[in-house]
């Protein structure tokens, strides 16, 4: 029954039998003298190692997705198709994504260039050549203007059917279960839970945008991995009249795209959550699973009063998000349980907004993230309010004292000022390399004032 696992690299099958499963695709490429893909950071933050990965969605359509090869463990590759910068040109004939960069002086030192080229390549296929297409690629030389202009010129070129477009039209079978050493890629939920029973010390790994950093840095993370990125049951999005259930394995890019317009909280947050390369791999489940106090999605769940669905050896559990987070990176989820989905109630008559403040406004980690949901009556009396934050405590938290202060009161300048002062006092955040505690406290209050000024004026 066993054929060796393999993957396609620039149209050629590569055997994975000897691959070290926790080695990154980037390091593997380097070991095979494929030097076009560059290592700028090894942390998934610079985009120099961007490659295109083919993914087939539930509707059967295939897409190229830009991903950071430094965060992609070889163990996750069986059955996948990868295009690198070496695969683009036909001999001396450059791909249009390369041609516009040459003509527009888009390269100086050239070290970030292959990553930009791959982002642009993907952009030509998914029709987005805006700044968002290249936000995850750092360049230290050009100041970006010529690259932005190259992207614009590329967007203006007529669409020509080429071998890359034709390749996407090929029918593809769904990815099946596969294993590379101790890196397991189950195809079903049952299989995943059974694997966990057999390998209790194995760790769940979704898009590997968080654990991939540790692996890339050569740290020992776990003796075995159970990957969740090819389990069909985790890939669904169910849009109901009252709520939307999002599979834990749905990428943030898909959420951003497929739920656009349904949740202002997501629309406000996802463009700034991270760069495309990360959003193409990161999942809602992974974000909650890592339980980071500065995760940008937990405040949204808290503000909407959502719930988390877990599956384990003893069946399924549905837990409200309130009370889900217990302590720093500790949640109610047991080690052998898996997040399978989250449910977001649809914000009927609520006014909602998310804010994210970071040192840099694109592709950065929050100093403070805030998600607000409020319902007022005709006299501006507060009927319902949920004020949720990341970055102000050891866990994503609601400002319950300030919520209590607001309930039943008329929302005017005086109340906003009282709420602001209350929010400043409600949390005891840390000072760290991102910001001092005082600034975080000030933001906790001021972002609410900003929310009222912008959405409730």
């Amino acid at each position: 029954m066993h054929t060796n696992p393999n993957f396609m690299l620039n149209g050629r099958a590569v055997d994975l039998a000897d691959a070290e499963p926790t080695q990154s695709l980037l390091r593997w490429l380097k070991s095979r003298q494929q030097h076009g893909t560059k290592e700028g950071c090894g942390d998934g933050d610079c985009g120099a190692c961007t490659v295109a990965m083919v993914e087939t969605d539930a509707d059967g359509r295939s897409h190229y997705r830009a991903v950071n090869s430094c965060l992609l463990p070889m163990g996750a590759l069986p059955g996948r198709e990868i295009v690198t910068v070496e695969g683009l040109a036909d001999g001396e004939r450059l791909h249009p994504a390369q041609r516009v960069m040459v003509d527009g002086a888009g390269s100086q030192c050239g070290y970030c260039t292959p990553g930009f080229v791959m982002s642009l390549f993907v952009g030509t296929h998914d029709g987005d050549l805006s700044d968002h297409c290249i936000e995850g690629n750092l360049c230290r030389c050009t100041g970006y203007r010529p690259i932005r202009d190259a992207a614009k010129r590329l967007a203006a070129l007529p669409i020509v059917e080429d071998r890359f477009g034709a390749a996407l039209q090929q029918p593809r079978a769904a990815l099946t279960s596969a294993r590379v050493g101790d890196f397991h890629n189950p195809g079903t939920l049952t299989e995943a839970l059974a694997l966990k029973q057999r390998h209790p010390d194995a760790i769940w790994i979704a898009g590997a945008t968080d654990l991939g950093v540790n692996l890339s840095r050569g740290q020992t993370v776990a003796p075995a991995f159970i990957a969740l990125d090819r389990i069909a049951e985790l890939q669904g999005i169910d849009i109901d009249t009252d709520a939307v259930r999002i599979g834990a394995g749905v990428s943030l890019s898909r959420i951003e795209h497929e739920l656009a317009g349904l949740f202002p909280l997501l629309d406000d947050m996802l463009p700034w959550f991270a760069a495309k390369q990360v959003k193409n791999r990161a999942t809602f489940g992974g974000s909650l699973g890592s339980a980071s106090p500065i995760g940008d999605l937990a405040p949204i769940l808290l503000a909407l009063g959502g719930s988390v669905h877990l599956a384990g050896p003893n069946g399924v559990r549905d837990l409200p998000i309130d009370g889900y987070f217990l302590d720093y990176r500790k949640t109610q989820r047991h080690a052998d349980e898996l997040i399978v989905a989250v449910t977001l109630p649809r914000p009927r008559d609520l006014v909602t907004a998310s804010y994210k403040i970071a040192k840099r406004q694109t592709d950065d980690i929050s100093i403070v993230a805030a998600s607000y949901a409020i319902r007022l009556d005709r006299d501006r009396r507060v009927l319902d309010v949920r004020l949720a934050y990341g970055g102000v405590a050891a866990i994503p938290s609601r400002a319950v004292k300030t919520e209590a202060l607001l309930i039943g009161e008329v929302l005017g300048d005086a109340l906003v000022e009282r709420a602001r002062a209350s929010l400043v006092a409600e949390f005891a955040p840390l000072s760290d390399h991102r910001a001092d505690a005082d600034y975080r406290r000030a933001l906790a209050g001021n972002l609410f004032a900003k929310f009222v000024a912008e959405k409730l004026a």
Partner: protein
């Protein structure tokens, strides 16, 4: 002349075929290095025990100070920089030993098994602690003119202030990388991502205790340098060469990003104190300025960095009575080093701070006070000399400034912004125009020389060697243009070679914006020698006078008979047949330079580069978040050799400066460990930080210059970096609109947090 539109390696860049140091066809048996890092910022090393590590799989050697056969030092000016310390740890993360193993993972694993016993000592972790304890490198430096005491005393108004300016990581996309092998003849062959191959060569020889003629250092191209590989490539080259020397096998290192950020020095943080005397019109009479650069643990290039700051505090302004005192704080941090602008940016930020304080004190528009204090060559020739005694030769700034004011629609936008600010309580816009005057030449006079070596082969192909290095700035592209123009051939005929110390010896660092000025003249001289040798041969073949021979478009002809021509390669062949050498060196030294570092006087710069920028920002009063809405840059590159390359330097320099002054913040913990050692925590600009409305123009001067720079171009590597000061001043302008303060203190970098804190202060004033 030919103006190549793209970088000579552009196709290599976009296809991934351009090769960098750690990507060459590497030799069999290549070993990798990984450092053993000290967990203290300051400590005595009591013992190093590598027995466990040495026995681990794949480990070939563990190198410590005791293994160094030559001199344990890579300090470029002062010999205070051990490759590995024998007894004293001077900064957190310092490499106290290097593990050499079959691959990087094995070396990394073994590095954690090296046992080192330390006795921690109290560290000094910033400028203030150094000031409090009088801990400095070298004696203070001074540049002064006039009677500063009397000038201050007699001025109608006086104010004083202080300012802290943050450092900056280079964040070249390619981290420090090097590999080395000892060849069959015992020559140490080093390939390094270095801006200064000659110095890397000398340092390797010095550390191995051998003569320089036994070391060859090559540099193909760098994935960015920005000054960070001017001296700081040397310790890694030394460690790698030592590994090759000790083991007899080739060895490599390419630092992981976090290691690179922890181990290498950055732009110097500066602390400044100033006192300034001025009159009702805002004219500055006198200034006393004290600059303290955070040098880090060793001297490195700190003295010339400090000096460049001291001779750029004036920026574009004449200050009759002035005294600038500079000190270098000795701290237990990585050793700060060259970074684009080389102290100039810090000096100019201080200068602009002073002008802004004067203007706000008087309630005058800042742009007006700037203009009033300008050096002006024609209107006020008596106010056109710098405080170090050099006149501002070919001073184009007042004209350039007036052009930018008009083009950017400054005055109308000023009115619109004031109106906008009256209507909005929680968001304010700011506008600023700032000048740049930047001296071109190495402050160290002896560095202002260069060499080239040009071979013409009998098939008519040309091989070009020069002493400069390519780090993305387009030097090779410009050198190809110079050679093609001088030889009268197409650039396609010329192959530029990796920089190598066995081709051109004793080169200077590619730095100080002078790479194309110096190497361009050397290349031109070599090509002119070759032409002079070929001319008589061509004249004889064409049957005319030598004076009438022309080399153009790959053809050789007499100027009065252009229809009869010879192919370039035919003239080459005939020259060879006539037994005339087709290989020539070229050499250049910048004329007229002098500098007395003791007196702080002289003529250190061949000329000045000028520029100006207008920036408009919007600032949120609730969060401190700012957005750059529009930037207009006008910069003087002389007669450009390659316009696209020069525009790239202007735009790229500006955005890098923008990062320094806004989002790039270095933070250390209380033990001196760098906390911002990855792009997840250290934020250089992304495309999202670049304004959609970004207008960049090259200044066209009306007068011909009094200097003879290569083809009348101007150095452009560093000066545009300082155009970003307009963004800082625009942010300050927006912050000021939140209140009615006479002083707007704004930290550098102006992160959202810093801006928010400044707004709180302004509102409270």
């Amino acid at each position: 002349m030919s103006k190549p539109t793209t970088h000579e390696s552009a196709v290599g860049h976009v296809t991934g075929r351009a090769v960098y140091v750690d990507e060459q066809h590497l030799p069999q048996g290549l070993l990798s290095l990984y450092p053993v890092q000290a967990p203290h910022a300051h400590a005595r090393i009591l013992a190093i025990d590598a027995t466990t590590a040495a026995a681990m799989p794949g480990v070939v050697a563990v190198l410590t100070a005791a293994d160094i056969p030559g001199v344990n030092n890579t300090g470029p000016i002062v010999h205070d920089e051990p490759v590995m310390p024998a007894d004293l740890v001077s900064y957190h993360g310092q490499a106290v030993a290097w593990v050499v193993a079959e691959d990087e993972a094995l070396a990394m694993a073994a590095a954690t098994a090296v046992r080192v016993d330390y006795e921690p000592l109290p560290p000094i972790l910033d400028v203030h602690a150094a000031l409090a304890t009088n801990t400095f490198h070298l004696p203070p430096a001074k540049v002064a003119r006039g009677e500063v005491g009397a000038g201050l005393a007699n001025a109608p108004h006086r104010l004083h202030g202080e300012l802290m300016i943050g450092g900056q990581d280079h964040f070249y996309l390619e981290t420090q990388a090097c590999w080395a092998q000892v060849d069959g003849e015992g020559i140490v062959q080093v390939t390094s991502s270095t801006q200064h191959p000659s110095e890397t060569q000398h340092m390797v020889a010095h550390v191995l205790g051998i003569a320089s003629n036994r070391v060859v250092c090559r540099c193909l191209r760098m994935g960015g340098g920005f000054g960070g590989k001017e001296t700081q490539a040397n310790p890694f080259a030394a460690a790698v060469a030592l590994a090759a020397w000790k083991t007899g096998r080739p060895a490599r290192v390419k630092l992981h990003r976090a290691l690179d950020m922890q181990l290498t020095g950055k732009r110097h943080p500066f602390y400044a104190r100033f006192e300034v005397g001025f009159d009702d019109a805002g004219l500055i009479h006198a200034a006393r300025i004290e600059l303290v650069a955070d040098g880090g643990w060793s001297v490195d290039l700190s003295p010339p960095v400090l000096m460049r700051a001291m001779v750029h505090v004036d920026n574009a302004y004449f200050i009759p009575h002035i005294e600038v005192i500079g000190r270098i704080a000795k701290t237990n941090l990585a050793s700060n080093t060259a970074f684009r602008g080389f102290g100039g940016p810090q000096g100019m930020v201080v200068g602009e701070e002073i002008v802004d304080r004067v203007a706000r004190f008087l309630g005058l528009p800042v742009d007006q006070v700037r203009e009033r204090n300008f050096y002006r060559e024609s209107e006020t020739p008596d106010r056109n000399q710098t405080h170090y005694g050099q006149p501002v030769v070919d001073n184009e700034l007042p004209t350039l400034w007036a052009q930018l004011r008009a083009r950017s629609d400054y005055d109308a936008r000023r009115r619109d912004i004031d109106a906008f600010n009256r209507l909005h309580a929680q968001k304010k816009r700011g506008l600023a125009i700032t000048p740049v005057k930047f001296g071109i030449s190495f402050n160290k006079t002896e560095y202002n020389q260069a060499g080239a070596l040009v071979h013409v082969y009998t098939d008519g192909s040309v091989q070009l060697n020069h002493g400069g290095t390519e780090m993305g700035q387009g030097l090779h592209t410009k050198m190809l243009a110079v050679a093609a123009r001088t030889l009268g051939v197409s650039a396609a005929r010329i192959r530029i070679m990796p920089t190598s110390t066995d081709k051109v010896p004793n080169t200077s660092a590619t730095a100080a914006s002078s790479g194309s000025d110096l190497n361009g003249h050397a290349v031109k001289a070599a090509c002119e020698t070759l032409i002079a040798r070929m001319v008589p041969v061509a004249a004889a073949s064409l049957g005319g006078d030598a004076g009438e021979v022309r080399f153009e478009h790959d053809r050789v002809f007499l100027c009065d008979r252009p229809d009869t021509s010879l192919a370039f390669e035919d003239v080459v062949r005939a020259t060879y047949n006539a037994r005339i050498s087709l290989s020539a060196t070229g050499y250049y030294r910048t004329p007229g330079l002098s500098w007395d570092p003791k007196l702080g006087r002289g003529h250190p710069f061949y000329y000045y580069a000028f520029g100006a920028a207008v920036c408009e920002v919007e600032v949120c009063g609730l969060t401190g978040v700012q957005r750059l809405l529009r930037a207009d840059l006008l910069h003087d590159v002389g007669d450009s050799i390659a316009e696209l390359i020069d525009r790239g330097q202007i735009e790229g320099g500006f955005v890098q400066g923008l990062g320094w002054l806004t989002s790039e913040e270095l933070r250390w913990n209380a033990q001196g460990r760098l906390l911002t050692d990855a792009p997840s925590t250290y934020k250089i600009p992304t495309v999202g930080d670049v304004p959609e409305d970004f207008r960049v123009d090259l200044y066209r001067r009306a007068k011909s210059p009094s200097t003879n720079v290569i083809f009348h171009s101007k150095g452009v590597g560093e000066p545009p970096f300082m155009l970003a000061i307009a963004a800082r001043e625009a942010i300050r302008d927006a912050v000021a609109a939140f209140g009615d303060a006479r002083v707007v203190e704004l930290a550098a970098p102006s992160t959202p947090e810093a801006i928010y804190n400044a707004i709180v202060k302004v509102r409270g004033a």
